[in-house]
Subunit: 229 residues, 4 copies
């Protein structure tokens, strides 16, 4: 690469700042402890995304801990003034960005209620209007995939390509969520934990009363097109 | 409408301020995440009420995000300096104000323990003196009603008209609560979650030991007439 | 009464201040919501105790909301510059102070895990060394007693007189705890919720493994005599 | 002892400060209430460690409440300007430091989810990739050991010597964790509670789907060698 456009540099500065705020919201919403969890955001009009560095504590995190990577998940030195290794989940995020052009943000947590469904390898059934609104049906289970190659990324993409849901529960691992940007993906991470929690409590009271597919479609359609400003 | 009385304008300013505070208490009491949940308050001596705008985040909410509506749920431009679409639950709130003259405040949340009972379509049984005090008996389940017409509002009014309870658990959806003003309705939203949580934990230990109707009546009567300053 | 000793007035000022701090700790430890719960403290060398006013919110509570009462539970005007009705549980606190000379503080909450055991009318079994340390055995269930006369106070005193435990779970109601002063009673209220929570979780995993009486006695004896500064 | 090297004094000052911060993280992560729980750190190149004083409240804790002890658990007056009795769990920490040369930090809590497994005397099965990463397999149960002699320390060392896990759940008591320093031991205390919580929720949904030993080994090996900066 030759000279870097000023617009691109400014976009990266802004994304780093947003990602710091969004990582704190993982903490506020009780989705992560210690260094677990990561948020990434695609850089618009560039073959790049930005992701948390590996093993960084939320309490001391700064913009410098947000690492710019190419779409193969390799850090791009030109943009990273501090030498940081990106999140150990970077390959999974990169795979999603390479294969899902509409995705602008990815989040991974081990939030306990959603991860409980992942550990039991049970999808979260659609028993709440909130689940219909946000996920358009049950929240699916992905395969058991080990870190180290493209298995996790492929499991995410294969599962979400066949679902309206922006969240997948990777078996024995935890939720990955996607969105048009990092904020939307964080929202999905917050909502998957909230519906997991509520559904688990309902399961204790049982038996569950799933919504009809026609009801779910009506909820999802309205919410995606009418809700918000 | 011709000129607006100064008193009415001042009342609306004051209600907007109170509603901002009350929405924050939904957060403090863990009743809502992200943009879920809404509080409204009737404007005394006017055919108006004020409610949260649709899809607004709690962290950035200001008085301007509180939308003045008529009793059909339409925003009244004269009072809304900023253009905001009211909550997608506005029609349900409006229906309650039109049909229950004594109600001055309405709250809706998806608080997880109360919503778990709603998902299992089980009323919260009256096994706690606190439930007797606040709700005068079991907390009833309302119908499965979809957003988009008067079904939710009608379900709330029909259910609460036959109950001492200021809270109804709309099936597969979540609690709606009412009160003489918005503060009382928020109190009922806090209490329904607290008794739902405690009752669900008791159900785990089981079996539940419901209170006798005569005991419940005595608790409810005393609490409504003696408690407080 | 004639003139009031300056020492007594100073003691009351100090107790009011401490009670405000202790009530906030009920909130911090998730033992209460809205206006539920109350802490009282005996005034040393006087036939008096101080207790929260009825229906006061924790967020706006001040020293003036702490009401000085005689041991029959009647407010003593001489010490209360502001006119406040004491907690609706005042009669129960007063009964305890009249009948248990060593008790200097009483706390009542509806903390959800402990109240769940109360609703199921099951004592909290002694399956944790922490329960042995703090409570010297299982935490007992008291009778179902209604507010309005001495029934609650009598149920507390009768149950605790036959137990090493400073906490009793009043049936379908919630925990009352005692201590040599209000701080000790608040500590017992915090600990009863913590052991209730842990024991309920253990019950989910089940079956429970109760400690032997001889083990419990050794734990309790050491903790009461060796722990702390 | 004759004169004390300035380096040693500075090291102790620094450790006291770190231990205060780490004890607050037990509170932030909901691992402790009131005075329960304790963190210690070995002093490098000295036959000493530093531990919390007995019965100290987290809210008022200062560096002076961190007591310097020899490896038999006796306070060393030379380093303690304020007279404080060390934690009642000091003997267990001392035993670990005497018998495990690589351990630089020890933490003990009664965190409720981990302690629930301890009360049911069930190891936490390895059903989460996070458990494989951090603990290398199931988290073992230690013996029922009473305070007062070396029984607890011996139970910790015997159990952990036969496990990759840095955490042991002492039967009916609670978790003890170890690490190369106090920060690593606190991390293990945070993670054991997080996996206990998630696994208990998964157990409610059941049945659990344990990971294969070969999968666990691969996760653990990668995490110990690749994760972080």
């Amino acid at each position: 690469m030759t000279s870097t456009p000023k617009d691109l540099l400014e976009a990266i500065v802004e994304i780093r700042k947003q990602l710091c705020v969004l990582h704190q919201q993982l903490v506020t919403n009780s989705l992560v402890v210690w260094t677990a969890g990561n948020v990434s955001q695609r850089v618009p009009d560039a073959e790049l995304f930005v992701i948390k560095a590996s093993g960084v504590r939320y309490e001391t995190m700064t913009d410098d801990d947000m690492v710019v990577c190419d779409l193969d998940g390799n850090p791009v030195d030109q943009f990273n003034t501090v030498d940081r290794k990106p999140s150990s989940d970077t390959a999974a995020h990169a795979y999603v960005y390479r294969h899902m052009a509409d995705v602008g943000g990815v989040v991974h947590t081990h939030s306990p209620y959603a991860t409980a469904f992942a550990a039991a390898r049970k999808p979260i059934p659609c028993v709440l209007t909130m689940t219909g609104d946000e996920f358009g049906g049950e929240i699916p289970i992905g395969p058991l995939a080990l870190i180290g190659d493209d298995a996790i990324g492929r499991g995410i993409v294969d599962t979400l390509s066949n679902s309206k849901s922006p969240a997948v529960l990777m078996a024995n691992h935890g939720p990955f969520t996607i969105g048009e940007d990092a904020t939307a993906a964080v929202k999905a991470a917050v909502m998957v934990e909230e519906v997991a929690k509520t559904t688990l409590f309902a399961d204790v009271l049982g038996p569950l009363q799933p919504l009809e597919p026609a009801v779910i479609d009506r909820l999802h359609d309205r919410y995606q097109h009418v809700y918000g400003q």
